[in-house]
């Protein structure tokens, strides 16, 4: 069953075709990676899927709802109820503690529940650091708080933009392990990444070039080592 469907989606800014006639579907529980060089349309696609932007053409169906004709307020409601966002820059609120940052998402979703927020912190291994401010946390820890915030409302879709882009190798492994656990638990994950090591974890990797899908690689199609090498080549291109 498809949780997400993009049909002939285009995003055109003046003369620039950031995305052009892209069609894609994502199954419930699937881990999809979106790769491509800078300017290939990855962020544009993420913004459209994440209900932060509307395509100029085509339709986007998330969990059975057509998004392309919805107002900004309706898109906000969909984003709040169905999507968990993980950012490369973490985007934590500097004056709130790690726990409060998680609770912010609860607050705007329904009502706050400190116990549940602490549980989410525990799932990312940061229960002991719940009362710390973002500046007192390492980059990896901040990203894990960001993941806890994304998970707190049990979203239908987790959308991660370069989740390991600002992390060292150790933290990258920790974050990937969390995502892996989420996937194994049945969560649908879409990751936008430059990193083949991240993409190799996905069930399917979509390559974008000049706003179009240039290649699709499935995890089961080729062995990981070959696939990673293939991805590096595609990414470099």
């Amino acid at each position: 069953m498809n949780i997400l469907e993009l049909k002939n989606v285009s995003m055109i800014y003046g003369q620039v075709k950031a995305l052009y006639d892209v069609s894609l579907s994502v199954e419930q529980g699937e881990w999809l990676a979106i790769m491509g060089p800078s300017g290939s349309g990855k962020t544009t696609m993420m913004n459209i899927i994440g209900c932060m932007d509307r395509p100029t053409n085509g339709s986007v169906i998330l969990d059975g709802e057509e998004l392309s004709r919805l107002s900004p307020a309706e898109l906000t409601a969909i984003r709040r109820d169905k999507i968990g966002l993980i950012f490369q820059q973490f985007h934590l609120i500097s004056y709130l503690t790690a726990l409060e940052n998680v609770m912010v998402a609860q607050y705007y979703h329904s009502m706050i529940d400190e116990g549940e927020a602490l549980l989410a912190m525990e799932r990312v291994g940061l229960k002991e650091r719940a009362k710390h401010l973002p500046r007192q946390l390492s980059g990896g820890e901040q990203q894990r708080v960001c993941i806890a915030r994304a998970l707190i409302n049990y979203p239908r879709l987790i959308l991660a933009d370069e989740p390991t882009g600002n992390l060292d190798e150790t933290n990258e492994h920790i974050v990937m392990e969390i995502l892996r656990k989420l996937h194994n638990g049945g969560s649908t994950i879409i990751v936008v990444t430059h990193d083949p090591e991240v993409a190799v974890e996905a069930d399917r990797t979509v390559f974008l070039e000049h706003g179009r899908i240039s290649n699709v690689v499935r995890k089961n199609d080729v062995p990981d080592a070959v696939k990673a090498k293939d991805m590096q080549l595609s990414s470099a291109r």
């Binding site: 913004n47 820059q89 985007h91």
Partner: protein, 432 residues
């Protein structure tokens, strides 16, 4: 959570919030000072203008008619109509009793006065110098010329209303007459008329007017020698008044031309014409005439002063609104990622606007409170520097300043709120 976010934002952006609070404090302080002075300036200007003399003259009806028709001054022999001295305390029983600040009765006659250098025919004026009165309303007060003629240049002391030692009465003599009679403070002149006697000169005054050729003595003395016990030829009244407007001018011409509602409004406002009307109601056979030069000057000075205060208030608030606008806009720009994040996790534009506006309002109101108290201080400085007295703290200033702080903060925040509403998470979180 809202409280956490609010406290967090307020405490962790202390610098910017302090600037907003101080900007508002400055605006609120100037507004408080100006509004306070504006509301009190009427009384202050009235107090100042008291030095120009009384603003109401009460005369008997017949004498008023003679004055109006022939320009004849009131005085003994001009008319046989007089006011009753024992009715004077009733002036403090009218609706605007508290606005009657001072009053002094006069009874005049022409007598020969002998002094060390000779004898002169002059005007003898009986009056109250500093009379103690118990009014029908139970109020006690001192009133008379000491307060009414505060601008007179007096050498020696003011006379008093009691008889001086040795059976003589105390009196004040005009500088011209004193020079003709060769008398100085502490000297004595005598009035050889029927029932006359000696007058102990307590002070020599210079008024710059016709009074400089007169001798002022206690009212009872003139009543005795002119054989008019309890009579008064005119009363000068100094009253605190509201500047005249069209309603007051119409009422002054004919109070019966007003509708019932207009009449009530006029009667219950301290216009000089309504005070005059109320005086005529309590003093038998009296005609109360406003001294228009004083009343008009009062109104004109008051209006100009109030306009100046109002303009200063508007300017200071406009400056505050501009400064707040800049500060809040800068704050929203600086926090665009945070605002984008809140929208990304599901906050509506309204919810984010409410959060930001609450932060700004709390900050501005705190500044407003500081500004209010600072403004009260400024008002006192203005009061003492300009009017030589303190400015009364009016309760009405508090809600007015609170309302102005709210409106100015709202107006100043509007550009930032518009920016905030148009801010899209995709633009600030992903740079598109």
């Amino acid at each position: 959570m809202f409280r956490h976010m609010l406290i967090g934002a307020l405490t962790r952006q202390r610098g910017r919030m302090f600037m907003i609070a101080m900007t508002m404090a400055l605006g609120a302080s100037i507004s408080t000072a100006m509004l306070g002075v504006m509301m009190d300036v009427g009384d202050k200007v009235n107090q100042e203008l008291k030095s120009y003399g009384a603003n109401l003259m009460v005369v008997p009806k017949g004498a008023a008619l003679l004055g109006d028709l022939y320009g004849v001054e009131d005085g003994l022999g001009v008319t046989d109509k007089y006011l009753a001295e024992d009715e004077l305390p009733k002036l403090k029983s009218i609706f605007w009793a508290f606005n009657i600040v001072d009053f002094a009765p006069y009874l005049e006659t022409s007598v020969s006065v002998s002094g060390p250098s000779g004898t002169e025919q002059c005007k003898l004026v009986g009056t109250w110098f500093d009379k103690h009165l118990d009014t029908p309303t139970g109020e006690s007060l001192n009133t008379g010329m000491v307060r009414m003629k505060s601008w007179w240049d007096v050498k020696g002391n003011w006379a008093n209303d009691d008889e001086a030692s040795g059976g003589a009465v105390s009196g004040m003599i005009g500088a011209n007459l004193a020079s003709k009679l060769g008398v100085a403070p502490g000297g004595k002149v005598s009035i050889p008329a029927n029932n006359g006697g000696d007058v102990m000169i307590m002070g020599v005054f210079q008024s710059g007017g016709a009074e400089d050729d007169s001798l002022f003595v206690p009212l009872s003395f003139v009543q005795r020698i002119s054989d008019r016990p309890g009579a008064v030829s005119r009363i000068e009244v100094s009253a605190l008044t509201t500047p005249e407007n069209d309603l007051a001018r119409r009422a002054a011409q004919d109070p019966n031309s007003l509708s019932r509602h207009e009449w009530d409004t006029w009667y219950c406002t301290a216009y000089i014409s309504s005070i005059a009307y109320q005086i005529e109601e309590v003093i038998t056979n009296a005609r109360a005439k406003p001294v228009l030069q004083v009343a008009e000057s009062e109104g004109a000075i008051l209006q100009k002063t109030q306009l100046l205060m109002l303009l200063l208030t508007i300017l200071s608030l406009a400056c505050s609104a501009l400064a707040i606008s800049n500060l809040v806009t800068a704050s929203v720009m600086e926090r665009s990622a945070e605002i984008g994040l809140l929208k990304a996790v599901g906050a509506s534009s309204t919810e984010v606007s409410v959060l930001i506006m609450t932060e700004i309002m709390i900050t501005a109101l705190s500044g407003g409170v500081v500004g209010y108290f600072a403004g009260r201080g400024f008002a006192q400085i203005i009061g003492h520097t300009v009017f030589g007295s303190s400015i009364a703290a009016r309760g009405l200033v508090i809600p007015l300043v609170a309302l102005l702080v709210f409106v100015v903060t709202l107006a100043g925040s509007l550009p930032a709120i518009r920016m905030l509403l148009s801010l899209r998470p995709a633009e600030v979180l992903h740079g598109r």
